[in-house]
């Protein structure tokens, strides 16, 4: 028996099918979840994939956060189930207050799509155990509302508790995917909750799991193998 990982589809979700593929590539079973269903089909973990749910109208993630499936996910996340929010999924998690802070329009106001260098800050979450703290990885980034922001004291708390999971790697040539692409405070690309089971980030690990496709790197696979190991060991 392998782990069952749910992948949520909201109206306007775009990366659900690639996320399902990434889950399968990692060796787990991908279970589609529909925004209108409260039923989580007994999955062991959930991914909220990227896209433009509800067209990103109002604010990215603001409308999806009120969907029936989110009610169940919020409940399960509080009980410890691993939840990963990628890009729009991260935005949904902040709107749902499962993660602190909020996402704003990129400082240069443009959508940005590029291969982004990230530094893994902690392997102590459900989704990053297969990485080493300090490791540099490169995965695609693509968003227009990716500027992470939070109050100073929230940021201090995140840092103090080791809850900044990824930072944009700023050392190096910008053309090579280094640099803060959107003006996120303290170069934050991803964070976790206090328990370490809920992780959100802007870049897209599911686009970096096959050597032929996209950037040709597989640096994103570790997200899915991390959670799989955790679930199978549990």
């Amino acid at each position: 028996m392998t782990a069952r990982i749910g992948v949520v589809t909201f109206p306007g979700t775009l990366d659900d099918r690639d996320t399902q593929r990434a889950v399968r590539v990692a060796g787990a079973e991908a279970v589609p979840l529909w925004h209108r269903d409260k039923d989580l089909k007994q999955v062991d973990a959930v991914v909220l994939p990227g896209g433009f749910s509800y067209g990103d109208y109002l604010r990215a993630g603001a409308i999806s956060r009120f969907s029936p499936v989110m009610g169940s996910i919020i409940e399960q996340a509080r009980a410890g189930m691993p939840v990963l929010g990628i890009c729009n999924g991260f935005q949904v998690l902040t709107e749902a207050h499962l993660l602190p802070g909020a996402m704003l329009r990129n400082t240069d106001l443009h959508f940005v799509c590029r291969d982004q260098k990230l530094r893994v800050e902690t392997s102590g979450t459900a989704w990053t155990a297969d990485y080493a703290a300090g490791q540099e990885i490169s995965i695609p980034l693509k968003n227009i509302d990716g500027r992470y922001t939070a109050d100073e004291h929230v940021l201090d708390e995140l840092e103090a508790e080791g809850r900044v999971v990824f930072r944009y790697a700023v050392e190096g040539e910008a053309a090579d995917g280094y640099g803060n692409p959107n003006g996120s405070l303290r170069d934050i690309a991803g964070i976790t909750n206090a328990a370490g089971n809920v992780v959100g980030l802007m870049p897209h690990p599911e686009h970096a799991v096959e050597s032929l496709i996209g950037t040709g790197r597989t640096d994103g696979l570790g997200f899915f193998t991390s959670v799989l190991k955790k679930l199978v060991d549990a």
Partner: protein, 81 residues
């Protein structure tokens, strides 16, 4: 220093997908009794000098040529009290 506000809204005959998305979400949030929602932009301009007729006329021109595209949008200029 005074504040002048320019409101820019899509013309009523133009589709407003954002307003529609908000409106459609209301029943799910338990809100009814709102028959239409339109979403637009609000610009707050801090003006250095006095906001006299000349200043307002220039801001109206700014709104007309830059802040709004009058092919699809209407605008409204007012001094904030």
């Amino acid at each position: 220093m005074a504040r002048v506000v320019v409101d820019v809204m899509l013309k009523p005959e133009i589709l407003d997908p954002q307003g529609q998305a908000v409106q459609r979400a209301l029943p799910r949030l338990g809100f009814d009794g709102i028959s239409d929602v339109r979403q637009g932009k609000r610009f707050e301009l801090e003006v250095d000098g006095p906001v006299d007729d000349a200043a307002l006329a220039r801001i109206r021109e700014l709104a007309e040529t830059f802040l709004a595209n009058t092919v699809i949008e209407d605008f409204n200029v007012k001094v904030e009290s």
